[in-house]
Subunit: 124 residues, 2 copies
DNA sequence: TGGGTTACCCACCAAAAGGTAAGTATGGCG
DNA sequence: CGCCATACTTACCTTTTGGTGGGTAACCCA
């Protein structure tokens, strides 16, 4: 279980390994639009078309959206399905690995929200 | 509970809120050295001196380390304690909020490791 | 023939992040 | 006096990331 991980262990190798793994995980999520994209895909059972994603990610431009989707695809988070028709139709959906991000994101969200509240308290 | 979060809900407002919270959380962790620093601090019960951190974060340079520590301090993740002596001594430690990152990081690490394994399988 | 649709690509630019190498301040010590 | 150690700061440069504005291919329809 993730909860049982012994953070306080003094083994520098273990620490380094964790740091590496986490850095690695974050690298996959970094990029201005990736979290937005992933949350949009989490929010719909269905796959989303490129144009649909473009509409839902307010403020994104095509180049960026394509770039981020490509990276997510390369990193095994989303799948890209091309329907050979005119005009073109391409759908994006979360892979199993993408869906497995759920618990991590949930924890992160909890932490972020708690943090926001505490920070607000201190300012007041 | 974080686990119970309903990812599949179709509410676009909720999705946007989650995306924002997660983006926010990631913003705090982004930066080439932050995870390394945090993992090092998790790995020791004690606070760490600047020079000690510098030694433990292989490849970091002073400027970057200071920069990242400053941001972590501003974001409420670490504390900075100055001992007024010569030569100077400054110690860094995790705040409560920093320690609260534990579960998120544990989940992320689990995901990252699982992912690495699966990716390796596919390549082989 | 020429416009419409969709999912891209490309050349180019601006801003942000990361990195190097040189300082600086302080006081103890020989 | 001059060197040491520690924790920084500063000027400057390179790399990465983000963004704009134009293509382009494909086929349908009028």
């Amino acid at each position: 279980m993730a909860q049982d991980r012994e953070w306080r262990c003094g083994d520098p190798q273990q620490q380094r390994k964790w740091a590496d793994a986490t850095t690695d995980a974050l690298r996959v999520l970094e990029g201005k639009w990736k979290i937005v994209i992933i949350c949009q895909l989490f929010g719909t059972k269905e796959a989303l078309r490129f144009s649909e994603l473009e509409r839902r990610c307010e403020g994104v431009n095509q180049k960026m959206l394509i770039q981020q989707l490509k990276e997510l695809e390369k990193d095994g988070i989303v799948t890209r399905t091309v329907y050979p028709q005119v005009p073109p139709k391409v759908e994006y959906a979360l892979t199993e690995m993408g869906k497995a991000l759920g618990p991590s994101m949930a924890e992160l969200i909890d932490w972020a929200i708690t943090r926001k509240e505490r920070m607000a308290d201190k300012v007041t």
